[in-house]
């Protein structure tokens, strides 16, 4: 089973990178840009047929390693 995980900074946490990227895009003439948030992305494939249990395992991976829960939020999606 394949899942994707997106990890983004929590709302109130300073995002210096996002700020610089946004300014640069605007300077490059992308005036319609309203907001850009960035984060990390993982595509994870696991050997597990049962969806809830698979999801649970992905959740464990996020909590144990992939996500810094102090400053980041995450979302899991099933891909296939």
């Amino acid at each position: 089973m394949k899942f994707s995980v997106t990890v983004t900074l929590k709302k109130d946490v300073l995002d210096p990178q996002g700020k610089v990227v946004q300014n640069t895009l605007i300077n490059l003439g992308m005036n319609d840009l309203k907001n850009i948030r960035q984060g990390k992305f993982f595509e994870i494939e696991i050997d597990e047929k049962d969806e809830p249990s698979a999801k649970n395992k992905i959740d464990q991976m996020c909590k144990k390693l992939l996500v810094n829960l102090i400053i980041e939020d995450y979302k899991i999606n099933k891909v296939s």
Binding site: K10, K11, D12, V13, L14, D15, P16, V20, N68, L69, I70, I71
Partner: protein, 726 residues
């Protein structure tokens, strides 16, 4: 909002303190005012438990331009040059989020230094972790080291020295102390004292977010099982913006626009504005709706307590606003006039023209509570260890244990992650007793080192306090620098516990005695209490950061042996003090007994004469003898030099382990060219210095007559293995 008991408690205020607030205001505070009080009255900002003890430290000397009381201390290094430096702790935030905690610790201390008009030229750090086998240690070590590097490397200031130690006492409470050193022109130092009424108060730097709200109170509260929940208050550092802020501030400082300037550190806008007003005996009025905010709907409470990084408050001379604004715009930084100085002696907070808070400045600063907490003295532990009763070992095995231990292993795993060379003035990187930084475009240089000895301080705080100052002084001497002044970071447990308070009082007493005797004043520092969890406090860990001067840098002196057949001299008397030694700890897990005695008279004499020998160019390499004793010192001198040494058996019959592993103080090992030995001996004899010629350098082997012989390669491997396999 009604101020309930819970609210008061959540602000870290005691009932009596709240009553005091009511008395001062002659009414109940509103929540904003309560927040301001709590920020200013907590331990971190008010120094309420430490102030009466700190007063005892010697802070004067003809080299001192500015002692404690400003953002950083300032000393005179001759000509037009001044050195500005300070150390600060970021322990609690680093335990919660090691990367960001350590990074913002570096950012904060840098601001303290460039606020005073100095360009930072070096960073140091002292980091203490729990036992390597503790499940959290590895990730904390990784996070802290990359956080320190992440910030310093990006902003482009070399991280040149420090210490990395492990001890289970820090399992639940690591220590991250960062020190910054800057160079300024003596005539261009900037202070935080406000002057004049109706002057513009300007906010510059990053926008204000909800970071670290209540951070200062967090830093002053003991950890408990729920401390994980305090996580969202951790700030994120932005070294890129700090670099811009640094350059913009230094640019504005070139002319006469600034009356006073203060970084927003702990308790952000609150402490910076209050400090500036308090030092100038003025009032200050802030229009909070003008504060640049990162998030929508931020309240005045949040703005006053936010600990967003990379921000400064400046009071400008009349008419300089546009000029200053241009500079900050050039560097893409926010610049807003948010208030003015007043003659009311109040902190007046306005929000859309309405007064939302008003507090007398005095009540927040000079009249903040001060406690003379109960404390008890500690006796020198009497247990003597009879070495003959211990399980047999031999010199080689015992030495291997020490050199391969986490605390004595080669630290290049750590230091390779720091840019040590940027700015191109690092004449000596970390690895020796002290780093050497040349003053840009000049012949002179400074030497810097940070040191601590928690085991000694735990065993006998008074001796421990003296010992660290001496060790720090010795480290500077060992690279040929004249020690000038120190900064100190006092990391202790809960001050409400009388034993801990005793450790604090006595360490300070020890620091004081040593500093006075060595004429080595304290010019800045920081106190971090409440290090520990529940009832378990950390060992008392004062950290000393010293700065010394090398008048004319000809060749940086380090501790690597230079040639074959040089004569090795041991300066200072060896008594063989093994209690509290690394030998007993690493080989027998014994950590009882007293620390080695500190004789300030010998310390001073030995140091002065060693410095004299160095200045006369008689010394090829030098190393002070500290943790691990003589044999460890000698092996460190061989490991990176590719030269071995042959040490004769001690002439007087002594216990070999006491002789080679004893941690007696005031000692140095010097490498001397045989052709100079007569002159050297004469100087030593005239100076009344006890010394022994103990052997000579040789190729390839580390050897002790009749006892052991090891190849340098083997020593090197042993010393380099731990970090790489951790």
């Amino acid at each position: 909002m009604k101020i309930s008991d819970t609210i008061i408690e959540n602000h870290g205020l005691k009932k009596e303190e709240y009553k005091n607030i009511q008395k001062i205001l002659k009414r109940d505070p509103n929540i904003l005012e309560l927040g301001v009080f709590s920020a200013m009255w907590n331990e971190h900002c008010s120094y309420k438990s430490s102030r009466i003890h700190l007063k005892k430290l010697p802070t004067k000397g003809k080299q001192v331009i500015q002692g404690p009381g400003e953002n950083a201390g300032v000393i005179d290094i001759g000509d037009d040059d001044a050195i500005v430096f300070k150390i600060e702790s970021h322990n609690h935030p680093s335990y919660i989020e090691p990367y960001q905690g350590a990074a913002t610790g570096v950012g904060g201390i840098l601001r303290d230094v460039f606020t005073m008009g100095a360009r930072p030229i070096a960073l140091l750090n002292s980091i203490h972790f729990g036992s390597p086998t503790h499940p959290k240690t590895k990730s904390l070590l990784n996070g802290v080291v990359s956080g320190i590097g992440g910030y310093g490397n990006c902003i482009g200031i070399p991280t040149v020295a420090g210490e990395t130690k492990f001890n289970s006492t820090y399992n639940e409470n690591i220590l991250v102390n960062a020190m910054a050193v800057g160079h300024a022109k003596k005539t261009k130092i900037f202070y935080s004292k406000a002057k004049g009424i109706n002057k513009s108060v300007v906010y510059v730097g990053s926008k204000t977010g909800r970071d670290g709200i209540h951070g200062a109170s967090m830093a002053s509260a003991e950890f408990d099982e729920n401390s994980e929940e305090k996580k969202p208050t951790v700030q994120v550092g932005d070294p890129f913006t700090e670099k811009l802020l640094l350059e913009a501030c230094l640019e504005l400082m070139k002319d006469e626009s600034i009356i006073s300037i203060q970084d927003m550190g702990a308790a952000g806008l609150t402490s910076s504005s209050v400090e500036m007003a308090s030092k100038g005996s003025l009032g200050i009025e802030l229009e909070l709706d003008k504060v640049p905010c990162r998030e929508e709907n931020m309240t005045p409470y949040e703005m006053m307590l936010s600990e967003s990084q990379e921000r400064m408050l400046i009071i400008l001379e009349d008419g300089k606003e546009n000029h200053a604004k241009k500079i900050f715009k050039k560097w893409d930084l926010d610049f807003v006039v948010i208030g003015k100085t007043t003659n009311t002696n109040n902190l007046t907070l306005k929000y859309y023209n309405k007064i939302v808070g008003e507090i007398p400045i005095n009540a927040l600063a000079s009249n903040a509570p001060v406690y003379d907490r109960k404390w008890i003295k500690k006796k020198i532990p009497q247990n003597k260890i009879d070495i003959k009763k211990l399980k047999k070992t031999n010199l080689k095995e015992a030495l291997k244990k020490i050199l391969s231990s986490p605390n004595h292993s080669n630290k290049s795993w750590v230091t390779d992650q720091y840019d040590q060379m940027v700015m191109c003035d690092t004449a000596q990187k970390s690895g020796s007793d002290a780093a050497i930084i040349r003053i840009h475009n000049k012949d002179k240089a400074i030497a810097v080192s940070v040191d601590s000895s928690a085991n000694y301080c735990k065993s006998h705080p008074l001796t421990g306090g003296k010992q660290i100052v001496c060790e720090n002084w010795r480290n500077l001497i060992s690279v040929g620098a004249k020690p000038l002044a120190i900064t100190n970071c006092l990391n202790f447990g809960n001050p409400e516990n009388k034993e801990i308070m005793g450790e604090f009082a006595e360490c300070i007493e020890g620091i004081k005695e040593a500093c006075e005797f060595l004429e080595y004043p304290v010019v800045s520092g920081n106190v971090s209490f409440y290090n520990g969890t529940n009832k378990k406090n950390i060992y008392p860990t004062p950290v000393i950061g010293g700065v010394g001067l090398i008048n004319k840098l000809e060749k940086p002196l380090n501790h690597n042996f230079k040639r074959e057949k040089s004569i090795i001299i041991l300066i200072g008397k060896t008594f063989g003090h093994l209690e509290q030694s690394c030998f007993l700890k690493e080989n027998y897990s014994i950590s009882e007994g007293s620390p080695p005695e500190v004789n300030l008279l010998n310390e001073k004499n030995n140091g002065k004469i060693v410095l004299k020998l160095i200045n006369k160019n008689f010394v090829l390499s030098a190393h002070d003898v500290s943790s691990g004793g003589l044999i460890t010192t000698l092996s460190e001198m061989t490991i990176n030099s590719n030269l071995g040494v042959k040490i004769e058996k001690p002439r007087k019959l002594r216990n070999l382990f006491e002789y080679f592993f004893g941690e007696d103080q005031s000692r140095y090992v010097l490498e001397i060219d045989p052709k100079n030995i007569i002159q050297v001996e004469e100087i030593l004899k005239n100076g009344n210095i006890y010394f022994e010629k103990i052997g000579f350098t040789q190729k390839n082997f580390f050897e002790i007559e009749d006892e052991m012989k090891m190849s340098i390669n083997e020593l090197f491997e042993i010393n380099n293995e731990w970090y790489n396999s951790y």
